[in-house]
């Protein structure tokens, strides 16, 4: 058991070294440098997911059903493609907001939100700032 696991780890490290020598590692592979900050971000994101799950659950159980969905465009401040990707996926992961169409060139996301509250929570830009901090952009 331990032998198999350690052999697997050893071979993975050797393959990474081999790829590094071949110079085929690029910045779209797993970004190890942001991993410690990513754990802090994931804990914050999980708290947001639970809070907005409670909010959407209240909307679902309300009788009679009274929802007013919103569809709008949002400009993101991300510089990198990776940051933009994390931002769009975080929006989709949070219940109450879905990123429908994305454009990487001018960093605009079209968003479908279930109510006014989730829309204003996104427009405040807290998540955008957190991801800029996560990606290590200087001009936060």
């Amino acid at each position: 058991m331990v032998l198999l696991l350690s052999l697997g780890a050893l071979i993975s490290i050797l393959i990474v070294i081999y790829q590094y020598k071949l110079k085929i590692l690029d910045d779209e592979s797993l970004p190890i440098a942001i991993l410690p900050r990513a754990i802090i971000y994931w804990i914050w994101l999980y708290k947001e997911i639970l809070l907005s799950s409670l909010f959407v659950s209240k909307l679902i159980l309300r009788f009679p059903m009274n929802i007013s969905p919103k569809y709008f465009k949002l400009k993101s401040n991300q510089k990198t493609t990776m940051g933009f990707n994390i931002y769009a996926n975080s929006i989709t992961m949070t219940p109450g907001t879905i990123s429908v169409l994305t454009n990487n060139n001018d960093k605009v996301i079209q968003i479908h939100a279930i109510s006014e509250e989730t829309k204003s929570a996104l427009l405040s830009g807290v998540m955008d700032q957190k991801i800029k901090k996560l990606m290590g952009d200087k001009d936060v």
Partner: protein, 106 residues
């Protein structure tokens, strides 16, 4: 100590199941496909993650809990990409959300 962990894990499982039930009710009650996706995302984030965390606490920290953590990460990544793909396909198929129709009426 074992009893405390057992109660806590049962509590997590019950809360997660409640989220799954609420999501299922929402899938029936919501008016159109986009709002139904919001109800489904309650199930696949809060419901699934609370149930898996309950199971991890129940098994203790063994190789099984490591596998459960991998399943949890896979569910998070796959569900967000699948929801985005579904919404994008609906827009490309000219299925307008009721949000756009309401704004054009006013």
């Amino acid at each position: 100590m074992g009893i405390v962990f057992s109660y806590f894990s049962n509590f997590m499982l019950i809360i997660g199941s409640l989220f799954l039930l609420i999501g299922a009710i929402g899938l029936i009650r919501m008016p159109d496909v986009f709002t139904r996706m919001h109800a489904a995302s309650v199930m696949e984030t809060a419901g699934a993650s609370l149930i898996i965390i309950g199971l991890i606490i129940n098994t203790g920290f063994t190789i099984v809990s490591l596998k459960l953590i991998v399943i949890l990460l896979a569910i998070f990544y796959i569900s967000s990409v699948a929801t985005h793909a579904l919404a994008r396909a609906c827009i490309h198929d000219d299925l307008k959300p009721i949000a756009i129709n309401k704004e054009s009426d006013q």
